[in-house]
């Protein structure tokens, strides 16, 4: 890779800057101050002791929000046989819980968006579709919603519903605390029709006092807890009850940490990683190239000495070879001379022998000659 050190460092800077720019965001700062909601924000108090399970709030909600006709009419109380949750067709539902009161009377609890002071849905949305308004309601902007449904994962109270049946413009839906009506100075639909004092609308501060008074007036009756005062950092829908909340479908294990605080640490780590990783990796790279260079140098050195050794060895071998060759040659010459001499001697002897034989026999020199040829 053709790369100078300076160029590399330049890139590194650019990379770090780009990453940081892409990832930096206002991390939720840790603080020892607990957000207590916008001053003068509104809330609703739901008193389970007073609720008679008439489902008029459901009917009113359906009406003020122009929701589709329910499968069963609101007057039909058999709907209460099954536990229900909020859906795309019902922003609020009332559930019945049997066998909790000594009197045998059933307990009813209304469910809808709790309008958290620091909403999980709002903190989770990557297009800021949810806003906690200064008036109290948490409202949704369908114009930017992508439909990722992370808000539904994030909501600890399992409230938002999705219009899965719509192909082209599905929206997240939930109770709006009747924000438009509040702005007009009207009561929320459900509150306005409640025949008992089971639903009360007002400033959150005042309602906390009302709740405390009701508990104080009947300490024998009420559980000494205002659900929503601190749950998940506090909500704008408050509940008091004469039966344990968890028995009436409200989770008591959610804690008092507001949702944004749960992800604050992970978000704060982002710019750190973006800033430090490139530097560390750059360091590793420079180290590894240096190591490469050193390894390369070592290899060169090793090669050089190897080459030298090889050359020496080759020379020695050559010398030995030539010596050997000389020796061998000498031997061969000697042997050849010896052979030649021996042969000559032999030939001479044979000739002499033949002569002698011929002289002695004198008659069949041919046969003798053949024989001697075969012998040799």
């Amino acid at each position: 890779m053709a790369l100078t050190r300076r160029k590399f460092l330049g890139w590194l800077g650019a990379g770090a800057a780009a990453t940081t720019a892409a990832a930096v965001k206002p991390a939720v700062a840790a603080s020892n101050k607990h957000f207590e909601g916008h001053p003068d924000s509104n809330a609703v108090l739901h008193d389970l002791v007073a609720c008679v399970g008439c489902r008029r709030c459901e009917a009113a909600c359906n009406k003020v929000n122009d929701l589709p006709e329910p499968d069963q009419p609101f007057a039909d109380l058999t709907v209460l046989e099954t536990k229900r949750r909020t859906t795309e067709k019902a922003y609020t539902v009332v559930n019945r819980y049997d066998g909790l009161r000594p009197s045998g009377q059933p307990v009813f609890a209304k469910k809808q968006c709790n309008h958290c002071l620091e909403p999980g849905c709002a903190s989770a949305c990557f297009v800021k579709a949810f806003t906690k308004t200064p008036e109290g309601p948490v409202v949704y902007n369908p114009k930017v919603c992508v439909g990722c449904r992370y808000c539904m994962v994030a909501c600890p109270f399992e409230i938002p519903a999705y219009e899965y049946q719509k192909a082209f413009d599905p929206e997240v839906v939930k109770c709006t605390m009747c924000h438009p009506r509040i702005m007009e100075g009207k009561l929320p639909g459900c509150v306005s029709v409640c025949p008992t004092e089971a639903l009360v609308f007002g400033k959150r501060k005042d309602l906390l006092n009302t709740a405390r008074q009701r508990i104080a007036r009947r300490p024998d009756l009420y559980v000494d807890h205002i659900y929503g005062e601190n749950e998940m950092g506090g909500t704008s829908w408050l509940y008091i009850s004469d039966v344990p909340f968890e028995k009436a479908g409200m989770r008591m294990d959610l804690g008092i940490t507001p949702a944004p605080a749960l992800t604050a640490g992970a978000l704060a780590a982002v710019p750190m990683i973006a800033a430090l990783w490139p530097v560390l990796l750059g360091g590793v790279y420079l180290m590894s190239t240096r190591r490469d260079k050193e390894a390369h140098q070592e290899k060169e050195d090793a090669l050089k000495s190897a080459r030298e050794q090889e050359q020496a060895a080759a020379k020695a071998a050559l010398k030995k070879a030539s010596e050997d060759a000389a020796k061998a040659q000498q031997k061969a010459v000697e042997k050849a001379v010896k052979d030649a001499l021996a042969q000559a001697e032999k030939k001479r002897e044979e000739e002499q022998k033949a002569k002698q034989q011929a002289q002695e026999a004198g008659q069949s020199p041919d046969g003798q000659g053949q024989e001697s040829e075969e012998e040799s």
């Binding site: 790369l3 990379g15 892409a22 990557f126 449904r149 938002p160 192909a167 992970a266």
Partner: protein, 390 residues
């Protein structure tokens, strides 16, 4: 096996093409169904389960398995481990295709896919970890495309453009590592906001760490797994360097995976200890958690170590597949199986056949693209004009 590869190259009517063809036709039908009828028409998603198989498998597991690209390119380009150089291009290619599929799958899953750029151009929800995931995935897909592009440009003969990208490779690699670290961990951090819904054995403030470390494991395992597949079906495309480095890569990556898995194992145990969740181990979910922890973390760590030490290639390949499966299981556990653990069984989610079919369709698209590219571009061999690049 190479005879199969050759056959696959020749005729149109091959088993691969026939099966892939059927799946693609089914996928097109499902696609039309999904976009004309809405999510409700084809999925089992409901208000309790806003995220289903397409998020759990295609996004969560898909992104983890595509981590091989950043792991391998970092090892070679940043840490200077040149002996693994031939593994870079296949890993980058799988990473690129993997992320491309993730983005395609997201178009199926979100309610209004044409608004997917909104987080960047309309309204930046910077308090959301999903915003960070989206930003990093978008940027990283671009980085992977650039990292992959030299192979395509060698194929197309675009020498000058190729040179520019090759010179940028180090910068791209570092940028890729930063982005991968961020979004791999943030996928785990997405669930930090839902302590009430995810079972305590899986919920931990260390979720981002778990997700990042296990993504490295997934990346390493996928490189081994994938190279054993390519060696089997595309052997005729591999040059000598690739054939020689193949076993070096397998054993080296197996060793690294063994170490990482061991670290992951201890991190998970620490996660339980910190929250003092031991008592949950005696429950049904506890047994399931132990299956994951012992069967798909401890066991593969052990098998990888043995395989690497005794140079048993078969064992290493098997373990790679096993640990890939383990990571998929982990992502499904976090996003589906241990999610909403407090709901009664009747309200739990199980994917519809259309959701499963769509996921199979998308994976098949990836395989087809992989096959198309590997049989044409210099992925498994060095281009004769650029011999030094691997």
């Amino acid at each position: 096996m190479s005879s199969q590869a050759v056959r696959a190259d020749r005729g149109i009517i091959t088993p691969f093409n026939v099966i892939a063809g059927i799946i693609v036709i089914m996928g097109m039908v499902l696609t039309a169904w999904r976009f004309a009828g809405g999510l409700g028409a084809v999925t089992n998603l409901d208000n309790h389960y806003p995220w289903g198989l397409w998020i759990g498998l295609d996004l969560m597991a898909g992104v983890a398995l595509a981590a091989g690209g950043f792991v391998t390119s970092a090892a070679v380009h940043v840490f200077g481990m040149k002996k693994y150089s031939s593994a870079v291009r296949p890993a980058i290619l799988t990473g690129f295709l993997g992320y491309a599929l993730v983005v395609i799958a997201l178009h199926y899953d979100v309610g209004r896919p044409w608004r997917l750029p909104y987080p960047f151009i309309m309204s930046q929800g910077t308090t959301s970890l999903l915003f960070e995931v989206a930003a990093c995935v978008a940027l990283y897909l671009t980085v992977l495309f650039l990292e992959f592009s030299p192979a395509a440009m060698e194929w197309l003969g675009l020498k000058r453009a190729r040179l520019i990208v090759v010179r940028l490779m180090l910068l791209l690699t570092i940028f890729g590592v930063v982005l991968s670290t961020l979004h791999q961990s943030s996928l785990g951090a997405l669930f930090l906001i839902a302590p009430g819904k995810l079972h305590p054995l899986w919920y931990s403030s260390y979720l981002p760490v778990f997700f990042f470390v296990s993504a490295v494991v997934a990346g390493l395992s996928m490189v081994i797994f994938e190279s054993s597949i390519t060696a089997r079906y595309f052997a005729d495309k591999m040059d000598e360097t690739h054939k020689q480095q193949k076993t070096t890569v397998a054993f080296g990556f197996a060793k690294a995976a063994a170490f990482t898995l061991a670290g992951y194992f201890f991190a998970k145990v620490i996660g339980i200890a910190v929250d003092n969740n031991w008592h949950y181990l005696a429950t049904g979910y506890g047994a399931w958690f132990l299956v994951e922890l012992l069967g798909f973390v401890a066991l593969p760590a052990f098998l990888f170590a043995i395989g690497a030490r005794e140079q048993r290639l078969g064992l290493v390949k098997f373990t790679a597949g096993w640990s890939v499966f383990g990571i998929i299981l982990n992502r499904l556990n976090v996003s589906l199986i241990a999610f909403n653990y407090h709901l009664p069984a009747s309200e739990r989610y199980f994917p519809s056949w259309q959701e499963i079919g769509t996921s199979i369709f998308l994976i098949t698209l990836g395989l087809i693209a992989f096959k198309f590219i590997v049989t044409r571009m210099p992925i498994l061999y060095s281009h004769p004009d650029y011999p030094d690049e691997h």
